[in-house]
Symmetry: C2
Subunit: 455 residues, 2 copies
């Protein structure tokens, strides 16, 4: 047994150190395509803060890299193992420690599953908004690491806006608290926010204090069909410009609609070029939907269908939630992009993406958190076709380039990981990269935490 395994086992229970090659192999990567992954030396699954500290102290002493992991539902390779690393899985630290309706906070361990937290706070009349597509599996720790978004963001914002305070085990094993449980606080630099989206490269989050909202009324949705993506984007701009605050504003293009129908037989309209879904969780959602329906019609919608009730609304949203899986079923594999542009440039991004698809002779379905300008152009390709794979990768990159040209970002909510690290440098520029590397150096001078990610 290697020195590393001997030392790890000194501070961890028997069942917390996994070395079986099949098991270890399963923990070597997340759900991203085209991302390198090495073979870990071991997977450790601590249950306590002290055990995490032991892992980090051991790693520092032996200079072994550590890759922290949640549920590995990420889409950028941020949780991929590096060769010979220790994979530090936080999934067994899954206790909800407190839910406080007066302070409107929850205190949780990092392995709590997003949906489990959502349901638990609902029972107190509270709401934890961030709802990534993988919410039934992904963990709060992973959500913090990747700064996850979801369907709710157009009204409720992203994970970052709900992280008040963190307990973090640093690279050298020291435990450090940052942030607060109060509604406000400005004591020093905001290190808490620095950890959100840092992809495990600055420290290991072992406890989080999260802000909660009162549970809103159930949302009511409508679907609007458009003869062109441009018209649907125009409707999005009109809706946002007129001061509406939808709880959801999603777009699916024709490719996506057909893919969802093929998978689910939902009978979505296949002749329409773009479907817009809008929802409101306001006291009078019917009135809001009526106003938004008129704006859709003015933008050229051929059909506007408000849901009769919450159940019908939920069906519409199910169609949206199936989009990425449905597109994956088209050719077997996809690369899901995550470009976010100012919403006034959404139409340009969609037109440009269509041109890129045509140029490379590829199927690229687009679904989008349209109200945020956050699109997921999803490149369908056959991984066994070398030329198609190459064209897929090229088109994926061209879409990011287009996003930057339009004043956007290469990632709205999926993160950088391995997949986009070259593009991160383009977005940040040399001064930005220099400063970001300087910060990494402050927290992790030996470069042991999730090496090879982000930069």
């Amino acid at each position: 047994m290697s020195d590393l395994l001997v030392r790890l086992r000194e501070g961890l229970p028997e069942d917390a150190v996994l070395t079986d090659p099949d098991v270890v192999g399963a923990y070597s990567h997340d759900m991203a395509s085209f991302c390198e992954a090495g073979v870990p030396a071991a997977v450790v699954m601590p249950r306590t803060v002290e055990q995490v500290q032991h892992v980090m102290r051991t790693a520092t002493e032996l200079r072994v890299p550590v890759v922290p992991q949640g549920a590995r539902t990420g889409l950028s390779g941020a949780a991929n193992a590096s060769e010979g690393c220790v994979v530090l899985s936080l999934v067994r630290m899954d206790r909800i420690l407190e839910i406080n309706p007066v302070d409107r906070v929850a205190v949780v361990e990092p392995g709590v599953v997003n949906a489990a937290l959502s349901r638990a706070v609902n029972e107190h009349g509270l709401y934890y908004p961030p709802d990534p597509s993988s919410w039934e599996e992904c963990t709060i720790g992973g959500n913090i690491g990747t700064a996850s978004g979801g369907l709710c963001c157009v009204k409720y914002g992203v994970t970052a806006e709900y992280v008040l305070g963190l307990d973090v085990v640093l690279a050298d094993g020291r435990l450090f608290s940052t942030g607060r449980r109060t509604a406000k606080g400005v004591a020093g630099y905001d290190l808490t926010r620095l950890f959100v989206g840092s992809e495990g490269s600055l420290g290991i989050v072992v406890k989080a204090t999260l802000a909660l909202k009162p549970e809103p009324p159930k949302q009511l949705a409508l679907a609007a069909e458009f003869p062109s993506a441009a018209a649907a984007c125009d409707a999005v701009c009109r809706i946002m410009e007129s001061g509406h605050v939808p709880s959801l504003l999603e777009l699916m293009d024709r490719t996506t609609l057909r893919a969802v129908n093929a998978l689910t037989h939902m009978g979505l309209p296949e002749s329409t070029e773009a479907l817009l879904l809008a929802a409101f969780d306001t006291p009078d959602p019917g009135a809001d939907l009526a106003a938004v329906g008129e704006l859709c019609a003015a933008a050229g919608a051929s059909e506007v269908v408000p849901a009769e009730d919450h159940a019908e609304s939920e069906l519409l949203l199910q169609a949206r939630r199936k989009a990425l899986v449905a597109l994956e079923a088209v050719t077997g594999t996809t690369m899901i992009d995550d470009v976010c542009v100012p919403r006034s440039r959404l139409a340009d991004l969609l037109a440009g993406t269509a041109a890129i698809a045509e140029k490379h002779d590829l199927t690229i379905g687009v679904c989008a958190h349209a109200g945020d300008g956050n699109t997921h152009p999803t490149v369908c390709f056959d991984p066994n076709d070398e030329d198609e794979s190459r064209r897929a990768r090229e088109s994926f990159d061209e879409i990011m380039g287009l996003g930057l040209e339009l004043g956007g970002t290469i990632t709205g909510e999926h993160g950088v990981g391995v997949l986009k690290k070259e593009w991160l440098a383009r977005e940040l520029g040399p001064v930005g990269v220099e400063l970001q590397r300087g910060i990494k150096q402050v927290f992790d001078p030996l470069g042991l935490l999730n090496p090879g990610k982000l930069f």
Copy 2:
């Protein structure tokens, strides 16, 4: 003329370099009591980014400290000059560069006055929520530097939540952009947020992209009188626990009410121990106020008076806005504390503050952003009375100690500056301070930016 002045003038217009001792003296400090301030070598007032870069390049070359300033309405000494420094006033960079209702953003220079921005965006049906008491004078750059709050935070959050992207001139004069203009974005560490509340110690903000909200309906308020501070705090907890989202939830104690009456002759009830003001900007504020009024009554309110209309609501809020000025008039000088606790501990903080006032035989009026648990215990004292001044300082510190004991923070919205730097170390602990200093070192290795603040 000193070498410094010669070099500064090489890249600045004649009227942008001020050295008259009276003028320079006026720019040596902000509005905090008990904070040391040195005499600046010069005050510079650039109008362009290039001029700011010239100032920073000159300062770096000559190793002269630079203290950035907005309108100097701060309450922590964060804008106080250090001896022989260059005061870099950004007030002349006061252009609103863009207001975009589709993207819901404004792009501004740092010297734009908060109220000027608020009014300008209102004309587009938009709303820039952060509203510090000094909003008619304070600048957006100052708000970003100190992470300002205000009355709206209980519903709309603080300045930090509205800063999407920044252009920053670094200590060495390089221009650096961080963040985005999109609704979402997770490309790399969140350096944008790091600048918010950094009190000019990491770089000079020369442009900001701010998120805007749709303008809400005008708010409607009620006032509730309570026989004790504890009962008023109980009402606050009931209101928040029951899921209400007031646009304002403020508390004034008897001392504050009397001081406001003395100053304004408003005729506020002086026999009550605590007055709670609640407001809603919802579609049906009357219904919300009725529900909240019942919760106040259940918590022991002796009187609940809903405003008849928006004008009457505005009058009630005027009383609150006059609180700090009124308390200052009691003895001539005040120290305004800014302790924020979890709202479930608000009653404990008020009881403890009353005990501290009694122990030191001082008048301490408390007004609070009660919905946030953010209190401003305001110590009234005669600066010419040495013993009273000492007791004022001691009680000020004891209130911070109490706030930390109750799980709170030493500053909810006023910042650290000179006033609280010893207390910042207590709140952050040694590891926190080490990491914060590490970050300072990354951005400002020569330690020229606002030295002696924060740490």
